[in-house]
Symmetry: C2
Subunit: 331 residues, 2 copies
């Protein structure tokens, strides 16, 4: 296994040490494995937390900071955080205005965030939740009933984070999150598997001449495998299922062309160029974009595409200042 680690058992603890040393905008609760803002938000503002299995960096810990999340609960690699972790995050960020849970649709995550919300309610915290289920590739999957939650999570955390920073109340923040999710869809593909440190070998075998279309962010099976094609063909296989699932023609969108962790930026830019041509031909107006590694799958090579419908409200919130390790502008 070719990884820069000390031991499969200490990956999360060791990575959290590095995150804390690198990012002066956060503090780490090492016991609960929760990343908090170093300076909490002003009193009376809604707090946002997310979390999930580790191995998707910079998501979620890299999105803790001004303009995005208030805290992130970090599970073991590809493993949901426990209810106790989510509870520590929730209670730790609440300042009376309530907390929104941003949950990706995996059975363990949904269950543990729900349990934490109940426990937090018992401690007097007002919690609401939204569940991201934006992956058009498959219905139901290895760890999911319904659709998997993937790239829209990143854009959601930015947009809703700006709204919470503005001082909107919990109901308004949740309604905005639901609007973003209604207009958000994703589709991914892989050139290689990923290797979970504790397993020590690739999660699945993908022959040297094959790729998998519709892959999940933990290596869950996609729609099908086929011989590796050129970037133009792959771009079609990402764009077409998204446009078939939701009508984006005539819409303004924010686009993310995301790397899975093992694919270099030169290839992501190249793919983005192909995606832009297809979206423009389909009558979609790209207002903003992200190209890079934002929601990864350890060392998997491949990419995913996310579209979110963006009206003036959403664009204004997108452009608002953000200061996190993973996204930073306007400050």
């Amino acid at each position: 296994m070719k990884k820069l680690i000390n031991s499969p058992d200490s990956v999360i603890a060791d990575a959290l040490k590095g995150i804390e040393a690198s990012d002066k905008g956060v503090r780490v609760d090492h016991e609960n494995r929760v990343i908090f803002r170093a300076t909490p938000k002003d009193a009376g503002k809604v707090a946002l937390i997310s979390g999930g299995g580790s191995g998707h960096e910079p998501m979620h810990g890299g999105f803790v900071g001004q303009g995005m999340l208030d805290a992130a609960a970090c599970g073991e690699v590809f493993t949901s955080p426990t209810p106790d972790q989510v509870l520590a995050a929730t209670v730790g960020v609440d300042n009376g205005a309530g907390v929104l849970h941003i949950v990706k649709n995996y059975t363990g995550d949904v269950m543990n965030f729900e349990m934490a919300a109940e426990l937090a309610a018992g401690e007097g915290v007002n919690v609401e939740a939204v569940v991201v289920a934006d992956d058009v590739a498959v219905e139901d999957s290895t760890w999911t009933a319904g659709r998997r939650g993937v790239g829209t999570t990143v854009l959601l955390e930015k947009i809703v984070g700006a709204a919470a920073e503005e001082g909107r109340d919990l109901a308004a923040v949740k309604a905005l999150a639901e609007k973003v999710l209604e207009g958000g869809r994703s589709m991914g593909m892989a050139l290689t598997s990923c290797t979970v440190p504790a397993a020590g070998k690739p999660t699945f075998d993908l022959p040297e001449d094959q790729m998998e279309i519709g892959i999940g962010i933990h290596g869950e099976p996609g729609r099908h495998r086929e011989p590796i094609a050129d970037a133009k063909t792959i771009a079609k296989q990402l764009v077409e299922p998204i446009l078939a699932d939701l009508d984006y023609s005539g819409s303004s969108v924010i686009v993310m062309l995301n790397g899975m962790g093992g694919t270099p930026l030169i290839e992501l830019y190249l793919m983005y160029g192909e995606v832009v041509e297809l979206l423009e031909a389909a009558g979609v107006t790209i207002e903003r974009n992200l190209v890079g590694n934002y929601i990864t799958s350890l060392d998997m090579a491949g990419c995913s595409l996310t579209l979110v419908k963006a009206d003036d409200e959403i664009l204004g919130l997108w452009d608002a200042p953000v200061n996190t390790a993973g996204l930073r502008w306007g400050l």
Copy 2:
């Protein structure tokens, strides 16, 4: 070959199309393969250009923009840009205050930038150059007489970019660049080879249980190979040669823990945590840091460490606003 490309022949042209579509802060001269700022700097300010082989993204094109470079000449993968490309960049950015060439120490780059400088001088442009040769791993290498130029380039472009933005004259900007280079050292390592698209196979073979210490950014041989060790041991193999080469004890530094392109962020954070412990134990004060993919080697897995001595002048320039695809803060 598992890559998101259309054809090995069109990688650069296609990637430039995507860069132009993604980054509204640049415009691309596709004929000369030069990335310029979309909005040129104010008249009377020194312009900075760099460039080199492609495959190291975001360097250099991702560092074109307010607070860093004025233009970058993009060669073929791992191939120096031609004198004509560098000339187009140089003439294109000069507004009367002169141009500083930031050149990494590879024979082809040095030769072609020198030739371009002579041609530009013939057109009345005042050109100065600095050569980055910061890699402590080896003296002389596959494409280099003397030391190779690597990570310090990124930090140099940020620091000197801020000074040029302030309006310092060409001699002052060059003197600052030389000061940064005096205090800058790097050391890298690889877990895997990289694959140049035109070659279609890994540049070198590195057995499944081996790593290479002191690797160059084009896969040039390092100091030695050995069995893959834990992150603590690898961190020592990066830190110790740097501290042996230049006395950093008692110094304030900016540190970059850089990914080679195929290594995910979770591992880079983990490595950064180990590096911080060693530097603190050696009496080095870390004032600022970067952790991520900044100077890559296509899909190579591995990382490199760069230290630059940072006095108050350099820290002030580091903190100055920057607005590029690859580095963005304060704006």
